[in-house]
Amino acid sequence: MPDAGASRVSYVPLRNDAARWTTASPVRTVLGVIHNVTSATRLLDLLEPFEGDPRVQVVFTCTGSSAFEAGIREFTTARELPYISWETALGEKFDLAVSSSRGGELQKIDAPLVGAPHGAGYNKYLHRKPETGNRKPETGNRKPEVRSLWP
């Protein structure tokens, strides 16, 4: 999922003959990477620095890696996000990619990748087993902390 209706490149800045079709003339293309609605709302915060700069076109894709994919199509539609499929995104080269979550095969994206937290900093373990219960025995184990920052 969720291919929000665009299996082919439908945004003109990505076309080979872009100069013929574009209105503004962006010189850089940024890929915003969505995992679910949570990370998408956060991603829009992170992309605010591009407001007001017609030299930059942002397009969005979704990794299809989250357990919470419902609602992404509605979100991208409601916010009118220029959306391309994950397959399309992997076939393109971008000047920058920004991701507010760590799931999915981000390493396949052809772009300098900026990763950011999708909440207030880094506070949660993602993979801790519930039955671990008491966390004291894990003191000194470095693994969970690595995961909490970046996979």
Binding site: V27, R28, V30, N36, V37, T38, T41, R42, D45, L46, E48, P49, F50, G52, D53, R55, V56, A67, F68, E69, A70, G71, E74, F75, R79, D95, L96, V98, R102, L106, Q107, P112, L113, V114, G115, A116, P117, G119, A120, G121, Y122, N123, K124, Y125, R128, P130, T132, G133, R135, E138, T139, R142, K143, P144, E145, V146, S148, L149, W150, P151
Partner: protein, 426 residues
């Protein structure tokens, strides 16, 4: 995975990264937190956010923040939503639940609304998860009850007093700001009135250096995130930055929230009326249907239900019945007698009066009272007037306080015959 840059919001995270994954430290960039910056930039406009959320002057806003999962507020303690609406006087408090999108999309919005339906009927505000109404709510809030989710941390960092209704120690990274917040905030006690607990949290919040210190862990580059992120992006893209400064903007004001559809019958309410030393009546009303184990917030209430209330628990025992207008050809007194026959517990039947906010009331012993608000009327004018008349059988001018605002009710009592044939105008 080898990202080009790992954005951190605080220098403290770099130390944790150094311990956990030292090879990633050279990639880390401390760029603050754009969300926190925008929340802070919104604070001067708190009154505007409160008005946009529909708060009346004098009303308070409690924000319930829930992340997702079994340890979250909704996962571990959904009953707290009930308690908030049951124990906080409904004229004085609005309760808003800011729920993590993963709850919404994991179970389905319909299902979440269905689970919360009794609370939505009692006025719970439940903003749609893809909006940023939660940001406006945190800026507008008087108090929060939260869990280990980011919104709780943002609320605490903004200086809002609050409590924990749940906390997932199991999933919180040891030594993280959230971990410290879990240790610093009081848990909601099951047997103490919630309003009292919130008041205690509010009294202790100003000057709480421990909470201020935790709030400071949200960003070590306050108000500079837009600037630092832009610098990072443009350097990675090898493009010159725009000339204008990158400044955090206040959060957009929420559009008017879509009204919840509601039934024509107002919820039955317990009214707690207390007379102050100066003879003023302080009235607090609570939804009857949400009461559970009493924690002491309802010492001596009377019960108010509308005629037509389908739940016999309320219709049979209500002290006050808010009556339907008389049928065509029926007098007020005839209608009141019909109400008394159908509601065995009822002492006072109240009708909307002929003025916009007036009230015509009958007591079971035949007394008839008309009353009208001198000057402004409170919201739910007839129900408030009925409770005032019920509680204060004497006096021509009743001073009534609801949700911190004062109102004056003028009364004219008539006994005996002479009015029994009067028919309502129109």
């Amino acid at each position: 995975m080898i990202p080009s840059a790992i954005v951190l919001s605080h220098d403290e995270q770099r130390e944790r990264l150094r311990r956990g994954c030292p090879e990633a430290v050279p990639l880390s960039v401390v760029a603050g937190d754009p969300c926190m910056d925008r929340l802070r930039a919104s604070l001067p406009f708190r009154e505007e956010y409160r008005a946009a959320l529909g708060l009346r002057p004098g009303q308070k806003l409690l924000v319930l923040t829930s992340t997702w999962g079994p340890y979250s507020l909704l996962g571990a303690n959904m009953d707290l939503v009930r308690r908030a609406l049951a124990e906080l006087p409904s004229d004085e408090y609005r309760v808003l639940a800011a729920v993590h999108p993963n709850v919404w999309y994991g179970h389905g919005g319909w299902q979440l609304r269905a689970w919360l339906a009794p609370f939505l009927r009692s006025g719970l505000i439940l903003p749609s998860p893809e909006t940023d109404v939660w940001k406006a709510a945190l800026v507008a809030a008087d108090a929060f009850v939260g869990d280990h989710g980011s919104l709780t941390l943002y609320a605490a960092a903004l200086g809002v007093p609050g409590l924990l209704g749940a906390f997932g120690e199991e999933v919180v990274a040891q030594g993280s700001p959230m971990d410290r917040l879990g240790a610093a905030l009081e848990r909601v006690a099951p047997d103490v009135p919630l309003e009292r607990q919130l008041a205690r949290a509010a009294a202790g919040r100003a000057g709480d250096e421990r909470l201020d210190g935790i709030g400071a862990l949200v960003t070590s580059r306050p108000m500079r995130s837009a600037e630092l992120l832009r610098r990072l992006y443009y350097s990675r893209m090898e493009l010159s930055e725009p000339e204008q400064p990158a400044v955090p903007r206040p959060v957009a004001l929420p559009l008017p929230l879509p009204a919840e559809r509601h039934e024509p019958v107002p919820p039955a309410a317990y009214a707690d009326a207390r007379t102050t030393a100066g003879g003023r009546l302080e009235l607090r009303r609570y939804p009857a249907g949400l009461q559970g184990a009493l924690t002491g917030h309802l010492p001596d209430p009377h019960l108010v239900a509308a005629e037509g209330e389908p739940d016999p628990r309320w219709s049979r025992t209500a002290d006050i019945v808010l009556a339907r207008p008389p049928a065509p050809g029926e007098t007020f007194r005839e209608a009141a007698e019909r109400v008394f026959r159908g509601h065995p517990g009822c002492w006072l039947a109240a009708f909307a009066g002929e003025g916009a906010d007036g009230c015509v009331a009958f007591t079971r012993d035949g007394g008839r009272t008309t009353a009208r608000w001198a000057g402004a009327a409170p919201p739910h004018a007839v129900a408030v007037a009925a409770s005032a008349l019920y509680t204060m059988p004497d006096g021509d001018r009743l001073a009534v306080t609801v949700a911190g605002s004062s109102f004056v009710l003028e009364r004219r009592t008539e006994h005996g015959a002479g009015h029994g044939t009067e028919r309502p105008a129109g």
